[in-house]
């Protein structure tokens, strides 16, 4: 668990008034193990620990931290934790949970990701969220492969009283393109494409996503990622980003006990913002992303 490592690092520095380089080295090692165990990607961990080490060596002894104007003198261990926390928060910010929903009559959001990551559920959650904000969303069943995928979206649409567009005889690029017109006809102002899950090694399916983008020109392309994902998070995010130039990503299943190290990895490598987090199976369990929330989850 990441929290264990951070506590261990903290304990190493407790009670010391003069921090030597080797104390920092040891504390950094604990943090490194912790971050790797939290599924932060190997090279992202390397970069993070190097930055923290450099800051720590420069600042740790006799430091003051100001809290709401009052200057407090803190021990090196609290200062070390603060350096880690600040570095995590700055890594995962700045906060940008906005969606581009302004410049066309019908704006589009395209949901992409690996199999089972939570795209269909998140499509419904996002539609509900937008409806609450006064938009008129329409969900688009662009997964023509998975058994009962269209049915799944229709059931969710019925539950939320949100229209679902489907045209199973057509190809996903055609379906997404045609949905824009259907939405306009129905008076909807935003469409959300629920695409099929796919792996990055499937050339044909990755190409299909590019074709959907070409055909429907979505303003927003969101990568939906399972918070428990492992070391491949970076390769996966990079590949989706390389092909589609995504506008942001969503981390799902954060209601579990996975530390969500993927959030750091993906953000660090793509620089794209985390827009939302999924916090449960229910359709109201979607929250706008807050870096301090995730940082303190990681720091414990």
């Amino acid at each position: 668990m990441i929290t264990e490592g951070f506590k261990k690092a903290q304990l190493r520095l407790t009670g010391k008034t003069i921090i030597q380089e080797r104390h920092i080295e040891e504390a950094i090692r604990d943090i490194r193990v912790s971050l790797l165990e939290a599924d932060v990607e190997f090279h992202v961990v390397k970069g993070f620990t190097e930055r923290v080490k450099a800051k720590a060596l420069g600042e740790i002894v006799q430091t003051r931290v100001s809290h709401a104007g009052k200057k407090l003198k803190v021990g090196p261990q609290e200062h070390f934790i603060k350096i880690c926390y600040d570095e995590l928060v700055s890594l995962m910010g700045p906060v940008d949970t906005s969606l581009d929903l302004g410049n066309r009559e019908v704006n589009a959001v395209m949901m992409v990701g690996l199999q089972g990551s939570g795209k269909t559920t998140t499509t419904a959650k996002l539609a509900r969220h937008l409806k609450e904000k006064g938009k008129k969303p329409m969900m688009v069943a662009a997964d023509v492969y998975r058994p009962a995928a269209i049915e799944q979206l229709k059931v969710l649409g019925k539950k939320l009283d949100i229209p679902v567009f489907s045209a199973p005889a057509k190809t996903p690029p055609e379906i997404c393109r045609d949905s824009l017109e259907a939405a306009q006809f129905k008076g909807c102002d935003v469409v959300i494409f629920d695409t099929a899950g796919r792996t990055i090694v499937d050339e044909a399916l990755m190409r299909e996503l590019e074709d959907i983008k070409t055909a429907a020109r979505p303003e927003n392309i969101l990568l939906v990622v399972d918070a428990m994902i492992g070391q491949e998070s970076v390769n996966i995010a990079r590949e989706f980003d390389r092909r589609l130039d995504m506008t942001g990503f969503i981390l799902t299943k954060l209601d579990g006990d996975a530390r969500g190290g993927a959030a750091l990895s993906i953000k660090e490598v793509t620089k794209k913002p985390i827009k939302f987090v999924g916090m449960g199976e229910a359709l109201d369990r979607l929250e706008e992303f807050r870096p301090d929330g995730l940082a303190s989850r990681i720091l414990g």
Binding site: E37, F42, T199, D226, G230, E232, G256, A258, E281
Partner: protein, 279 residues
């Protein structure tokens, strides 16, 4: 990894990078390094390829202990399989694949939709049952999963089916009430047919990192998992977390999932897995 000066620092960090990258996990990687330290003299620990060769052997040995195919014992009918795992891991699709295998071997299979919660879960499984040629016990949305399991077992017995496979809704192991629901289903089955469920499968997604260990721990603690299926190995993830799982838990690894089609299932082979791990 800092312990010994007998392994070259650079070799060490490169090996660690390779191992960690497969999701083996830093702690399991450390254990492997310590384990082979005795096997190799300090001289050969400086050479990356010989260290790697021994690590591969070590991993294969760990996995071979758990390599164990799901076989139907004589005289057990219906053989009851309960399929569990976290959300989206591949349970429903894996059931289709397993059913297809048994049907291909000449067995009669009945599938029950124990997921009465998620949108169109029943329809999804119903589609698969039709495709593979299995009987299907359909549940109403919102029906009690234990009641569905009970009815399915009754049907399996009445229709003299060889195998009953019960699908359950995905759930995170942190949700106590949902884990209790699984325990209740297990109890209900055991009461109806002593010995049932004969197999409790945990479906793990190979793209998941270290959380898979905790998933295994909690599902095993709650139910006594009798077999693991590792899915989505056709993706870019290596599923290395299974090594730590195999090392810690005495749970057979039956199958791997290598695609979305009903034939995309293979019996778990430790040597093939290790080869693919370091490709």
């Amino acid at each position: 990894f800092a312990g010994g000066t007998d392994i070259d620092e650079d070799v060490m960090s490169r090996l660690e990078e390779t191992l960690v990258g497969t999701d083996i996990g830093v702690r399991t990687a450390y254990r492997l390094f310590e384990g082979i330290r005795e096997k190799l003299g300090s001289a050969s620990m400086k050479d990356a390829s010989s260290v790697m060769r021994v690590i591969r052997q070590e991993i294969a040995a760990i996995l071979k202990k758990r390599q164990s195919w799901l076989e139907l014992p004589e005289g057990v009918r219906p053989f009851v399989i309960m399929v569990t795992g976290v959300n989206g891991s591949g349970k429903t699709t894996t059931i289709a694949k397993i059913a297809r295998r048994f049907i291909g071997d000449g067995r009669s299979v009945i599938i029950a939709s124990g997921d009465t919660f998620r949108a169109a879960a029943v329809e999804q499984l119903e589609h698969w049952a039709g495709k593979v040629g299995a009987d299907f016990v359909k549940a109403h949305e919102g029906a009690d999963p234990s009641a569905v399991a009970y009815d399915a077992l009754e049907a399996a017995i009445a229709r003299k089916k060889d195998v009953l496979i019960i699908d359950t809704a995905g759930r995170l192991h942190t949700k106590e009430n949902l884990m209790e629901e699984l325990k209740k289903t297990k109890r209900v089955l055991a009461k109806k047919l002593p010995g049932a469920p004969h197999s409790i499968l945990l479906v793990l997604d190979a793209t998941i990192g270290q959380n898979a260990i905790e998933q295994t721990r909690q599902f095993h603690k709650a139910l006594g998992v009798t077999g693991i299926v590792l899915t989505k190995l056709d993706g870019s993830s290596k599923g290395g977390v299974i090594v730590g799982i195999a090392d810690e838990f005495d749970i057979p690894i039956h199958y791997i999932g290598i695609g979305e089609g009903m034939d995309d299932l293979e019996a778990f082979d430790a040597d093939a897995f290790v080869d693919a791990l370091f490709l």
